[in-house]
Symmetry: D5
Subunit: 141 residues, 10 copies
């Protein structure tokens, strides 16, 4: 543990976040995501849920403001309303200096392909539907 580092950030996750540069991506995956088979670097945070981790990461890591998108969801079907977990994510984005971010949606297997290219995947125990999310790192100025 260190001062001012949220408890859910493991030493290895902190190292990974710090190694990432402009444009590198990290996936925060739900409990059913095939993380081990898709990850270039795998970080396990079993027992934790995505909103807590998302909030902790965003206190440390800026999102990319140059790219078209710096947040990606895994698409759900043609339903009319967004899944409840996305609402939580947007509240967290609002409170962490990322008010202008507009998340993109990716079809399941395109999401898997993009996850394979990401610098790291965090495996969580999240059980909410459609909870997988990709973040693209921005720059520290």
């Amino acid at each position: 543990m260190l001062k001012n580092i949220p408890h859910c950030i493991s030493p290895n996750l902190l190292k990974i976040l710090m190694e990432m540069g402009h444009g590198d991506e990290i996936v925060i995956a739900d409990g059913n995501f095939p993380a081990a088979s898709h990850a270039q670097n795998l970080i396990r945070l079993d027992g934790l849920h995505i909103p807590e981790i998302l909030e902790a990461i965003l206190t440390l890591m800026p999102l990319d403001t140059c790219a078209d998108s710096s947040v990606f969801y895994m698409m759900h079907g043609p339903e009319t309303s967004a899944p409840p977990i996305w609402k939580k994510y947007e509240e967290i984005l609002q409170t962490t200096d990322n008010q202008t971010v507009t998340p993109s949606k990716l079809e399941r297997f395109r999401f898997y392909e993009q996850a394979k290219q990401a610098y790291a995947i965090i495996a969580t125990s999240e059980q909410a539907l459609y909870a997988n999310i990709i973040l693209k790192k921005g720059v520290i100025t």
Copy 2:
């Protein structure tokens, strides 16, 4: 994730618990414990607390009923009452078929020495005082 395996048990922790045999010990350490410098096998469960993990482990792993002690606390000073977290531990022991267990107490540096000999140490984010605990595995019959 698998059916009937508590979410806070990571794949690697489950493998470690299963590899352990009669008399092998595992430490569940608080957030300030020097886990990396003392562990033969290190398992990190950042963001989690000990009671949840203790309960999950005891649903899977029996304690040693042959040994003098199969639960060890890190001693606190000459105060009159036990730390609150020990009460929680004893409630958990009661509800997991370990009613007859009488925990032993070890002075800080003797606890460290025993932890070094343990098969594994789990590093948590527990912040309660005097929360470190060692479990000695029993037999499956």
Copy 3:
């Protein structure tokens, strides 16, 4: 050994099953299958047969109910009746909450190709004909 974990599941197999996510596949191969040359992760269970392992895995791992198929056999010739071992497999599927699964059949070399993409292959000592089987993992809800 742990409580409620079937004896034929090794620590490493349990870890592999737990790491697998939605859509990941595992092969349970007979004694003559070229497992070592095709496996990304190889688990050896020499001396054991497939039905016992299949039953044990299905007590822990759900099958994919979204995919067209979540069970694959290696095709046998144009005979009229299914090999006896497939009957056993279907009885096991019936008794493990997988009543609606309809296995697919793959020609030998297509089966080999799919096995190469699987997350893991279990090498057994099964000697029944046409016994190789692939399972696709579903979600824990």
Copy 4:
């Protein structure tokens, strides 16, 4: 699989048995033995029992006829009769050209110490009481 090699002998176990020389020891341990924490080389045969493995090994490996003892049991208490599993072991010894072997008995923690010095430990799922056994390899002439 190979011709004339019993199915319960894994490729790695066969290699280990072949690498062993005159006086090297191998432990066949029951399901509760702390194998991972004591083994210099660990071979897992989950799901199998000791008699089958003992018989298979003795078809391939001679016992040491120069040493005082080439078979060691883990001692049980001061009971009057030997545990049933020892009877099975002695029948197997009789039928594999090892009629003259007289097993020795070691107290639990002395057995553990000798197991630590052994070239390998085989972890099984044996559940019979007092089933642990050490074999000392002899010479091929």
Copy 5:
């Protein structure tokens, strides 16, 4: 050394032969073959010659009777008679239950390509001309 295992089979070669499955191939290469640069698994048997090793392997490993060919030679020129070493090979095949095998011949660089795909290459000190040989493993029934 083990009972009934020919002396020229090393522990590692025995493990490799046992890991191989139906359709996997192994090359027994002469002393000049570029074995280290082509082998996925390299086994060195310096000082030995191919006929002795071929005979030993065939006492343990069946050849593939389903494939068009289960024995491959490296082609020699348009001469009229087969090289003397091939005669020895055929005598060995005759005496090891492989009477029906008809070896195929491969041009040098096609032989090299097939050797690269083989599960293992055994490097020997064979000096006979055109002595390189590939074996395809069959099934144990």
Copy 6:
């Protein structure tokens, strides 16, 4: 780079600091210290000087307030005044919530011995005399 992490802290140093627990020690060594031959974990920060690193570490890591000493210098001779670099260190301690710390001094080879037991050594390019320093980590409450 991450928000609020000083630039001189490398990803690996941050991971090491976070892995350390109560009582673990870290050495910040000058450019001539035999760091590679004494370190259990070696972190190189070539081109940097100790005061900057000390200040950065103390913004993240508390010192041990239970131990007799949590800061150790390498002793200089029987001179009357402390080396100038120690003054800088004490100013930094003052401004980072460590006002009550009283550094201890160790003779050169005792300092080396303690450095060997430390969890990590940071190799810098510091050239000031008597600049080596050991820090003992405290607890996060």
Copy 7:
């Protein structure tokens, strides 16, 4: 530390520079560059800035005078004047026997591609805009 080697050159960087040959490239990247995800060999110099490192490297390593370009910048937009950091780089080139070098400019993602092919990437804490630079090694005569 060694005589005449600038302090900001770490042992590993020196080894890398020495291993490089005619035409091999090295990237000196700013603090936001995705160095870890693009580097074949990664050297971290956290806390340092590019001009100091560039100057140190050029005292040791000649640039390629045969190639069309031996210095590459990451392009900035269609502005009229060069970024201030480029001026510093050109002053350093002037004072290190590289007066005739004419740097080339690469669009961001072409720069990333070329960085992936480089022998090594040095990750710094440089914060100036458009500071990334690639050097192509020449020959020692």
Copy 8:
């Protein structure tokens, strides 16, 4: 050191030369060649020059007499006379039973490509111009 092995042959180079087979190639590269970035197996002989190494290798290793070429130079420009170092190489070939060898010349980047496919590259400190050379191993009969 061993009897009759030239001093400039290191233990690892000797092993590499011995592992090579018919048609495998080895590069002896000058001091500026990008050896580390192109080598599948890298052998460093810093401080030595190519003629001494070439002569030593040819006392141990035959050249390929079946291939069109078994010696390759890196081409120099359209000058009329061969570089002096090639004369030395040809004298060495004359005195080592390789009188009939006719070296081929490869354009710089084709030479680099062929070097990448070679079994090993030896990095020397040779400073003569156009000194790089590739040797293709022949057969021992």
Copy 9:
């Protein structure tokens, strides 16, 4: 294969012999010797016998003429005549410039202890009694 290197010397054995220096020892062990459990470096020459290997090694490696003994046998009982294999060894010593060597004899377990300290052990398939031998390397002048 290389010119003038006996066929029974593998690439790895040649490297080991060359790495050895004045006073380093190598064991040539018979087929029953516990080589894998005693060797710091293990070289397998399955299928070969000791005299051929001894002769080959002595063509390359000098024995130590400073030490009291440079050849060690494993003692046999109080019989009156030396085992036949020792006669062969002495003939080989005579024909390889080692006429003045007087072998020492070591009791079995002292021989094992010395073998553990040796730089390497060669495991052969030798079956002659009392065939184990240790050689101490001398100097090349």
Copy 10:
């Protein structure tokens, strides 16, 4: 190769020299020294002799002026005059700012023990008698 680095210093040796600190030792060993069996870090410079390497190292590395001795020879017998190679060493010391160094002499097996504790051993092809030498690194000020 780099500017101003002597050719006989390999990249790895340069890295090792740079990693060494005050009091660390390096051995430059002759061709018969048992370097591989005694070295914590082994650097091979086959084909080279000690004087050239000694001179190159002393242009880069200062000797320890605090220690009683910073140069150690391996003792020769009770002869009256020093071996010729020691004269060369002393000339080199004179010309490299180490005029005041007085070498110590160590008996052969004490030299071996000290070599085992050294940070690195350089294996050369030196053939002069009594040529082994140990250097103790000083400080860069």
